[in-house]
Symmetry: D2
Subunit: 258 residues, 4 copies
């Protein structure tokens, strides 16, 4: 299997400011995710967090990343616009992006979706059942009919996203809601997967089946082809068919608009 | 038929700076579009242009607009981010948006698509044939198998857009290219249609069938339902099913994150 | 509003063989649906049932039908293949089709979907909550956040359908399942809506909000444009661009394959 | 790379009845395709043709096939319905299907699409340019901006297919048409790719880039996960949440409809 370079990004705020969250994730959410992924020899895993320079997501780091996972919640606003734009750009070029839980309101995800990405929510530690609705999808491999989480934050519809290109999971909540919690999109040459479980006050990312879904998603999201073509002026003499130019020209021969 | 409030937005630069363009569109591109639409009694048509205060797109104007059409080319960068964000927001609430020709690089369109929106292009006055690929679509009503434009700017693939929700037209070009030139998306509660013909150096918007497509698209894009729900905290006592909260709470009772 | 010709098709078996079902639907399920729809003056409503000649769906009846609704459960196999093919053909030409509840296994629906259309199910009179996931969709107009049915048959994922073109509703069930219960597709020039509530042992079709959804769906599914083009040989002399034929011809000039 | 079991199916009629076609494909179209694929060590390639018993597609052969390619033209009607249904069933279970050129009217493809699959066409040996519109897609790997075929049969829009889940190629024709000639769908657990070039009177399948597309498509279409679940009755005592049955039961405890 080809090596895959994975960068686990984590906001890493609540694990430092809240004792209960720290108890669940003493090394941060990124620590648990990285440890579980490092058991797979084909993955080269690194981590990056908000408070590092450029949030740990320099041009160089992103250029060496095949798939980026993103978790954030309390500090979406602290992510610099330039870094969010850089992530968006890399996705369009082919980098995979896995957005986790409250990352639905992160800057990179909202920029790529173009919509509000809002949802309804309730924090009551209720039961969630993550149903596989697409058993033939690679992200569902190794998952039976559903994953049951005894304590979870409820996310509910309507979820302000563009219609997913593919859906893999829909969640049921004890309190009565449903939620499209496992969705795929392609944007440019990049693949994006949003996966909703993962509130930081419950040990969701310690769950082996949740880890399995993220592992599957990383493989699914790996770059597939070449990057989508950059804008390109095709001079008349390079037209695939021979043509004679007619009419008014508003552009210089090189393509610059007059 | 219900009245529809349409706002025709035009950059209105080349019609003032280039004598040839002014000859084709003495009242501006918006002038020709508005005149053709005003022949339909159910449409209430107004226009707005770049150099007006707030580009003519105040909160009030947008609140009274059911469908907005957008043409721009030379001055996308002059559109204020705040106005582009306002248009995006109104589309998510339900306003229809018709993006014309070089509007593919406009700020509102790129924000809503989340992708580069780039394409290949060539200005040679070559022949374009706009094929109907979806004769059952309301935007194709009244169009036969294709629309032929003797002089057109060539737009070519790959076009950096998300996969359209529906496709209505694909264009053929004399110089050898193809282009997905008539595409529909839904974003939030709003409908978006991109239609590629319309280079300002040819009289494309004087063509009755091009006018017909835009008229059809305005009807298709009219607001359909209520606006997509705003973010919403559902307190435990409002859960559809009775539940007892369990575990750690990271939010105050009113929903504010601690 | 333009008049819409609606044909309500019902298998009409259980209402005659089961006293309890007859008590709920003394005039048949089609009777309740037709009565609710006849309160809308723009609808011209007729009914048809399985045991009529050609199941009441002659070429003539279908030719005069803009939207057909379909309910069946116990006797899918009794529907003649020729009639199922006729319905499919008319949908491709532009007739709308609303498939209700157990109609997911009907011949016309399976022919149009191309998939198994299977699902999981449980008949326990449990609570169902039909969530609006797309408040901007015309089929959701007049429905608040959800419809609650105190007694319903549970349908569960995975549902063997092609990815819907649009989703309007997802259901939550007391027993722990979720289900994509309100889905739209376009096939040829026709629009198809599947709506899952409606087990015959509960008075689901007496519920005003369920009636509202069906009414909305009928309007949404009305024919939009012209029928998709029939197969067509384009002789060389009718090619849009002038070309000179080259190479081997396997067809006669009229297009017949040699 | 995992071994992939590929079955190349060919109608194999014109290569035997027409001397010109036999000159281009002396071993049949399947012969050329099989030879090109056998150069890839990870592929296990076999062939099957119409006139073999059960058209060479016995239950056993299909059970041992990961990806099936299909070429037919003159004798679609000779394919037994039972075999077409068997192919459809296997695709829903996860087998990949690559449908080539005139296979658009084959029974398996039409059953899986649910639509007419008709198109416009012209046999004039004109130039075709197959444009890559999705450079990031795995099926486009190794293809530059387009593939040029000096002689090809023209296929034109409208093409009577459901909206593709993904599009990879759109063709331009010298005579003035465009055609969505490279389309992906998922049905059940199976992946389907339709690729339009391949008229038997031109040596299209000898072209290395056409061979490359088919090779890419075979990898893309390989089975991804488990087969979509078969219909399933969930007895009350197996409901994920504990519930007490209420109301009328129309089914026996085992699930049989009364």
């Amino acid at each position: 299997m080809d090596p895959l370079r994975v960068t686990i990004w984590n906001e890493f705020v609540h694990e430092q400011t809240n004792a209960e969250v720290r108890r669940i994730y003493p090394e941060g959410i990124h620590g648990v995710l990285a440890a579980s992924l490092r058991s797979h020899p084909e993955l080269h895993v690194r981590t990056a967090t908000l408070r590092e320079p450029e949030h740990g997501l320099t041009q160089e780091v992103l250029a060496q990343t095949d798939v980026l996972t993103w978790w954030g919640h309390a500090a979406h606003g602290e992510v610099e616009d330039a870094v969010a734009a850089r992530v968006q750009e890399r996705v369009l070029e082919g980098m995979g992006l896995i957005v986790l839980h409250s990352g639905h309101l992160s800057k990179p995800f909202r920029r790529l979706m173009g919509t509000s990405c809002h949802l309804c929510w309730r924090e009551a530690g209720e039961r969630e059942r993550v149903w596989v609705i697409n058993p033939g999808h690679p992200i569902a491999q190794g998952i039976d009919r559903f994953i049951e989480l005894e304590n979870s934050e409820c996310y509910g519809e309507p979820f302000g996203i563009p219609a997913p290109d593919e859906q893999v999971f829909i969640s049921w909540f004890e309190g009565g809601e449903v939620f499209r919690g496992g969705n795929c999109w392609v944007r440019g040459s990049g693949r994006i997967f949003y996966f909703s479980p993962g509130h930081e006050s419950y040990p969701v990312y310690h769950h082996p089946l949740i880890q399995r879904v993220i592992y599957n998603a990383i493989h699914w999201a790996r770059p597939q082809g070449i990057k989508a073509e950059v804008p390109r002026h095709v001079p008349v003499e390079q037209a695939p068919e021979k043509i004679v130019p007619r009419g008014l020209q508003l552009h210089e021969p090189g393509g610059r608009l007059l």
